[in-house]
């Protein structure tokens, strides 16, 4: 049963991530990444982390990818000249991916000194949110607080970076370029 669920969602994740890479339109790429991340969330749940799976669906597909879609539609960048549109280019991407995959698998299985297939028994403590919260709010309390600060800084930074660069002064109707001059009265009249 677990193997069947794993097989279905692993294949779904692989297939939809290939669509993310190959589709030329970023909107379709984003929608297909939703499928990938949802499949990975299902795998999180069967690995005994239901809370992280729920967070994955809420944060990634609910917030981050909606933000991506919003920006794609705002910037209107739906058509893209893909580098890998030629046969040779696609072959190059495939070879690059295979090399990276081979390197990762070598690193995973040749350098690991632990037997990978003897799992610890799945305990109630590991699966429950209570156990996770106890560790998060005691042992990892300081990183948790720092992440809160990081999110605040990110909100402020994103607001500043995406601001319109030349803002007319809302109260007086003056442009910042007007404020550079000494005063309008000193302009030579024609």
């Amino acid at each position: 049963m677990e193997i069947a669920i794993f097989a279905i969602f692993a294949l779904l994740a692989l297939g939809s991530s290939l669509v993310v890479v190959m589709h030329r339109n970023p909107v379709y790429s984003t929608m297909s990444l939703v499928v990938t991340l949802f499949s990975v969330a299902v795998l999180f749940v069967i690995l005994g982390s239901p809370f992280i799976g729920a967070l994955q669906v809420l944060i990634y597909t609910g917030a981050i990818l909606v933000l991506f879609l919003f920006v794609i539609m705002l910037l209107n960048v739906t058509k893209e000249e893909n580098t890998a549109s030629t046969q040779k280019g696609q072959l190059g991407v495939a070879v690059l991916g295979a090399v990276i995959f081979g390197g990762l698998v070598l690193a995973l299985f040749w350098s690991s000194h632990v037997p990978l297939d003897q799992m610890a028994p799945l305990s109630e403590e590991l699966v429950s949110m209570k156990g996770l919260a106890r560790v998060l709010f005691t042992e990892y309390l300081l990183p948790f607080e720092i992440v809160g600060l990081l999110l605040l800084v990110a909100v402020i930074g994103a607001t500043v970076a995406a601001r319109r660069p030349v803002l007319p002064d809302a109260t007086s109707g003056l442009m910042p370029s007007d404020l550079v001059r000494t005063s309008p009265e000193e302009e030579p009249l024609p």
Binding site: A10, A63, L67, A162
Partner: protein, 101 residues
């Protein structure tokens, strides 16, 4: 019969490789960003698989923090793309080479 952890690690490596190969070859900035999110998620899958293997919470906690940082990174990155698009009218990374030496 449960699935061995090594299968999850293989899947994670495959997702990471797909994301990395795409991120190195795409030219649209937003597509590259999407593929970076895919790579982060592949890393998360490996961490959760190791948490299952050892039966500890540490992997789950790290994934929690990675998700928070990914959310911050997405907000900042997309804001930067909006700012760049305003100035250059493109987010093609081959044409945003102002800071290239």
């Amino acid at each position: 019969m449960s699935v061995p952890v090594s299968w999850y690690l293989m899947l994670s490596a495959a997702l990471f490789a797909i994301g990395a190969a795409g991120a190195l070859t795409r030219r649209n900035g937003i597509s590259i960003f999407l593929l970076i999110e895919l790579m982060l998620n592949a890393g998360n899958l490996a961490l959760i698989a190791y948490a299952r293997q050892w039966g500890t919470h540490t992997g789950q906690i790290i994934v929690f923090f990675v998700m928070a940082v990914a959310a911050a990174e997405a907000a900042i990155g997309l804001a930067l793309f909006i700012a760049v698009y305003r100035h250059r009218r493109t987010i093609d990374v081959n044409r945003i080479n102002l800071m290239r030496w």
